[in-house]
């Protein structure tokens, strides 16, 4: 019987720090091949449909950008939280609240048009997301309530609230009873970047700008240093005079605002109205994006594109091979597993050792000692 043994490295390995996402991706591909084979599909055919075909034409690249934009926006904010060891896992809810808050303008004031509409919507979206994220932050700082559970519970509440809005007070009276709001007027729709080439809209630009700004914040500014210190050693942070409570609010409000921006961008860009469901789990997938991108905003851009591809691939295998599009969720889950596992290699060397089941460790050491003497 074999056993894994971890040996701490004196320093974190730069090599594995760079390689680990790639190893993780390779392992995911291998596991995916096994999965497709089990489903009775030739893995090569499946991979071609899953990973190659969805991005072989320009308009498809635009679809990729549409899917990647919310993932990157949310994940960039989450990376700040996770670096600070603050666990906001309710981004899905903040995304929804951002979408709702921003939609107030076109839904409640459909006559209001002009260049001011969109900026106001985006601003309201960010405020909505940040305000919703402020709830778990407040509960954590005021009462010490675990932010993981509260932020997650608020996701269910947000989903139900949106469901009520679009079936109740905000339902389009001319919508033939469909649970949806009115179509947004033209000045409330996020413009497409290159309407001739594809559907990608300004949301993708927002995502890239947010990634660069947060990268500057984290690597060039004192606030970023504060985040890292408080994350790795709250005690050291306290001595340095950094307030943990202020950091909780900063991280939650920032990530909430970005998730809210993602929400309103998605609603006003890709969808054009509010529906009972406005996200295929972007808020949760973004958690994977954040880790795959090594909690680094620039890495997150790349990771966001990869995860966006898993969504497109899932849709593609569903229509081409009749496999459930849940396969995308499986790929995403596996990817996160392998990333976390490979990250171990950064801090530890892994040794396989034979395991003597009956011998306690102390005894083995004692036996080894006389041998050393003999050798001398």
């Amino acid at each position: 019987m074999m056993r894994l043994e971890l040996v701490k490295r004196p320093q974190r390995s730069m090599l594995f720090s760079a390689l680990s996402p790639f190893i993780a991706f390779a392992l995911t591909i291998i596991a995916g091949a096994v999965m497709f084979a089990l489903l009775g599909v030739n893995p090569l055919t499946a991979f071609n449909i899953y990973f190659i075909e969805p991005i072989s034409q320009v308009w498809q690249l635009h679809e990729l950008a549409i899917k990647a934009a919310p993932l990157i926006l949310i994940a960039v904010g989450l990376s700040v939280c996770y670096k600070a060891n603050i666990w906001n896992i309710g981004a899905e809810g903040q995304f929804i609240l951002g979408g709702i808050a921003g939609s107030m303008v076109p839904v409640l004031f459909p006559q209001f048009e002009g260049p001011l509409v969109l900026p106001l919507m985006l601003l309201l979206g960010m405020v909505g997301g940040a305000a919703y994220a402020a709830i778990p932050a407040l509960l954590k700082t005021r009462f010490g309530t675990n932010e993981i559970l509260t932020s997650l519970m608020l996701v269910y509440v947000a989903q139900l609230f949106l469901d009520w809005l679009v079936r109740g007070p905000w339902r389009d009276p001319q919508g033939h009873g469909f649970p949806q709001t009115i179509q947004f007027n033209d000045s409330a729709v996020l413009p497409e970047l290159m309407p001739d080439a594809g559907r990608a809209n300004w949301g993708f630009v927002f995502a890239l700008v947010a990634a660069v700004l947060v990268w500057i914040l984290m690597s060039r500014m004192l606030k970023g240093f504060e985040v890292r210190v408080l994350g790795s050693s709250p005690r050291a942070g306290r001595f340095a005079g950094f307030g943990l409570n202020r950091m909780v609010f900063f991280a939650f409000l920032l990530s909430g605002a970005l998730a809210g921006l993602a929400g309103i961008s998605e609603v006003s860009g890709a969808i054009g109205q509010l529906q009972p469901v406005i996200s295929p789990g972007y808020g949760f997938t973004a958690i994977i994006v954040a880790f795959l991108g090594r909690l680094n905003p620039l890495g997150i851009v790349a990771a966001g594109l990869v995860l966006a591809l898993t969504y497109l691939g899932g849709e593609a295998v569903q229509s081409a091979l009749g496999i459930s599009d849940k396969v995308a969720r499986v790929f995403q889950g596996m990817l996160l597993f392998f990333v976390l596992g490979c990250d171990t290699l950064i801090h530890y060397r892994i040794r396989l050792v034979g395991l003597a089941l009956t011998k306690p460790e102390g005894a083995a050491k004692l036996e080894a000692a006389p041998k050393l003497k003999e050798a001398r």
Binding site: F143, N146, L149, K326
Partner: protein
């Protein structure tokens, strides 16, 4: 009187999966491991239980399959966090995400298929007794398992030497390791026990509560179970009380919807989640209580030095 009995019965049915999942997680957390994958293990248990029943026609085999599914799935978490010392929060989250995806994929062909319900206990003479008959002798088998499990865990944690060892690991894995206790081995067993419980809880959903397969049918119950453990400040009998309170909230809002109370159904549906938040706030306000009971090494990775 009949209505009261019926309501009590449905509350017990709603509380049972919460209780089982939370009792399992309680043992895991007492050993110092935080497994946020309860929701994922639960839904895997649900799909495994339904699938095995569908294929074999026997809900009893389904019951075993649900337990096995949860246990095997939790092994993934154990290898990652215990052998590879990964971040427990992130790994638990990924277990949930993977479980939701995998169960959805495995269950594609089960959607809309009729299920088989585990039969209720029936003891001639006793079950027919007025009022208490059905409450005590006429419920589903998993209900009795849940009560027995709670008692067993109470006895194990606080009356046995192994239980004491497990709790000591949860409070200080370094001290336990220094005393020669096999920290990792204990934790493996605890995590697998938690997984089996979560699987059984999921099996209850697809074999008793609503005997069919619906995607995401656990509907956040795994997360509520996690909250219950905090609410119970890591005490089994408080988990029992908490699970029944939540069962009552869950059933209460369903009954309120059925009675046509002039409140939007979505607001009523969000009550269990809001109640979870309120309860967590109330319990965490009492800092002394939580500080005293939280296993001190909860969530911290442990790598034995050699």
């Amino acid at each position: 009187m009949d209505i009261t009995v019926n309501i009590l019965l449905t509350i017990a049915t709603a509380a049972t999966p919460l209780l089982i999942a939370a009792i399992g997680e309680l043992v895991v957390e007492r050993s110092g491991v935080l497994n946020l994958g309860v929701e994922g293990m639960m839904i895997m248990g649900a799909v495994g239980g339904f699938g095995a029943t569908y294929l074999t026609g026997s809900p009893w085999i389904g019951l075993l399959a649900a337990i096995a599914m949860g246990a095997v799935f939790s092994l993934l978490f154990a290898v990652m966090t215990l052998s590879l010392a990964t971040n427990q929060v992130a790994t638990g989250l990924s277990l949930t995400l993977l479980g939701l995806g995998l169960s959805g994929m495995m269950g594609t062909s089960f959607v809309g298929q009729p299920g088989e319900r585990l039969p209720n206990l029936y003891i001639p003479g006793l079950t027919e007794m007025p009022v208490v008959g059905r409450l005590l002798f006429g419920q589903d088998p998993i209900f009795y398992i849940s009560i027995a499990l709670t008692a067993a865990v109470m006895w194990f944690l606080f009356k046995t030497r192994t239980g004491l060892t497990l709790r000591s690991i949860g409070d200080s894995h370094t001290s336990a390791h220094a005393l020669g206790i096999q920290v990792i081995r204990y934790r493996y067993l605890a995590v697998i026990f938690g997984g089996a419980c979560a699987g059984l809880a999921g099996g209850h959903l697809s074999l008793v509560y609503t005997p069919q397969w619906v995607e995401n049918m656990s509907a956040g119950r795994g997360w509520i179970a996690l909250a219950l453990v905090v609410f119970a400040s890591w005490r089994p009998w408080r988990v029992l009380a908490g699970a029944y309170i939540f069962g009552a909230v869950w059933i209460g809002q369903l009954h309120a919807q059925a009675f046509g109370i002039p409140v939007p159904s979505q607001f009523l549906s969000s009550l269990p989640y809001l109640a979870t938040i309120v309860v967590l706030v109330l319990i965490s306000r009492n800092k002394r209580l939580t500080m005293m009971n939280t296993p001190a090494s909860l969530g911290q990775p442990f790598v034995p030095d050699r």
